[in-house]
Symmetry: C2
Amino acid sequence: MCGTGGAEVTAACRSNYNVVREKGITVQSGKLGYHPNWHPTRVVKSADEVDVAFDYLAPASEIVRPYLESHVQRSSGKLPLVVMIQNGVDIEEEMYRTLVATDKPLACGIASGLTWVGTTLLDNGTRIEHGNFERFEVGFYPLPRFVKPDAEAERLLDEFIEIITCGGSTVVKSDDIEALRWSKILWNTSWGGVCLLSRQPVAEILRPEVMPYTCGVARSLMCEVMAVARANGIDESRLPMSRVDDVYNMTQSQSTALFVNPADPSCASRVPTTLLPDDFKPSILVDLERGRPTELEPIFCNIAARARRTGVPTPHLDTIIAAVKPYQAKLIASLGHKATNEYHVNPRANAVGGAPVI
Amino acid sequence: MCGTGGAEVTAACRSNYNVVREKGITVQSGKLGYHPNWHPTRVVKSADEVDVAFDYLAPASEIVRPYLESHVQRSSGKLPLVVMIQNGVDIEEEMYRTLVATDKPLACGIASGLTWVGTTLLDNGTRIEHGNFERFEVGFYPLPRFVKPDAEAERLLDEFIEIITCGGSTVVKSDDIEALRWSKILWNTSWGGVCLLSRQPVAEILRPEVMPYTCGVARSLMCEVMAVARANGIDESRLPMSRVDDVYNMTQSQSTALFVNPADPSCASRVPTTLLPDDFKPSILVDLERGRPTELEPIFCNIAARARRTGVPTPHLDTIIAAVKPYQAKLIASLGHKATNEYHVNPRANAVGGAPVI
């Protein structure tokens, strides 16, 4: 069965491989509608535990290499486009260097993508709950002004965009995906960071009585990330400072707190904007709660690494890293791998059919 | 049965009331020895859930008031000494004002105490595991140089010190317990704070591969607390800056990391100092994991409140508060109480027989 955009979809599943093959996935989306038992065209398996460790420790290119090699064989040498859909910064370089800018290329380009979507995977991975908000941002790595994209890569990306637009997605094609990555990471590190720290869904950190403690920290995290961005050449023309307010308000507007006037409770009739499901948790927290490696490195550590190189202090960010590193190290050790002290780049890149993450 | 110091001990128990009455408590201590099935002289009950909420929401004086009233009745008006054994700062004022410096006093004084002891309560509250390290610090509130203690209070405190010294405790009587509170909170906020954030025992945050992420944050937390202390009149003569290194090294020395020389692993023969059991977790983390209200307010929020009043930035501390406040608020709400935005003072004071906490 095809997706609503007309594409054949191959899903690489881990723990939900069997149920997805049998029953498909039920999509309940405010924006995209209700799709009971939707079946991908193909479901392929990736061995669970091994892959988890692999994701974390191996370069991302190693994960997609076998898929690309078999594709190139089937298509008699025609190179595909790799679309990375993942949070974080500094995630594409290794992929580009080893798969595109090499003597034996396996892809004609790297499209770097971000999805803004609050989804929750339920019922053993067979049901997706989604609200009304969704946006897909994508552009080439390296930025087109530095390296002109290959013509075939341009064609493939436009085709990909057309398919998912037909499927109902709102797509923004950008010449500066790097700036958009920093823009999105503003959410992941701040509201996402406080959810991660407190192990709570967004709704809980927006309770009126905890907002004096959570909201200031969320905003401080955004300011730290902006300072690192500026020190690394992402200037006002690429990422305006007003994004801090945008990202802040986007989530804070979902609290009931602002709308209740204690002096006159009858004024409390305005309802908050509801973009996310009530129990929505950022993917990094879901990973942590399920005992999987998290996207700590691309989201938090890569920014901290840039901060150290450019002398920007990031105390709030550092505290989040201190909060999650021991978990991550313990987990990797339990998987039988020797952990290192290095900042990992790109531990969980999702290429050719990666799961949407927020 | 008396304690080894010769005192009659009344234990107020919650969830472990029945088992402690029946089987007593088994103490396994490196410092204090093995005491199988030790029975307190009396075990009194305090209703579980109610008390938990009460502790958190009510002034501490309300918790001890009934005990004190019945004591005063029995002893024909002779006033007892209240010994508070609890972490944190700014915890005594309410107790002193309502029980001592009042028209109808119920106590002749407030002794403010701190215990440095890494204990773990196991087997449904019937077994205490303890290492080699223990120290009890105590002094009068207000400080004697501000208010001369009552003669009877002096006598009672000396008697109390004699009893627990006979029992094997190492006691330090101090004229400046306030400075010692700040000194101890250096540990609670820093190493304790990182354990709390990461939900890990001390040993896990000292793994060599995570130390680059945890130790800097621990030290930064100490520096923030010192800055708040200085801004609040705790000067070098009362709390030397070298305490930061002392508190830092006390725990960091328990890591194996320092003793392994990668260039020559044969040098790795030195063993780290072992003061705490391997799986030791700070009490605030144990409370959190067991779904009980935590000492967030006396340990963290009271410092943050002082920091705000004196204009000292505390980003690491604020991040910890953001991490735990949502849990605390959710819990209080689930107990059917209306939470407030105020900084609580003294939420879990342990008076007349409180549990040792680190």
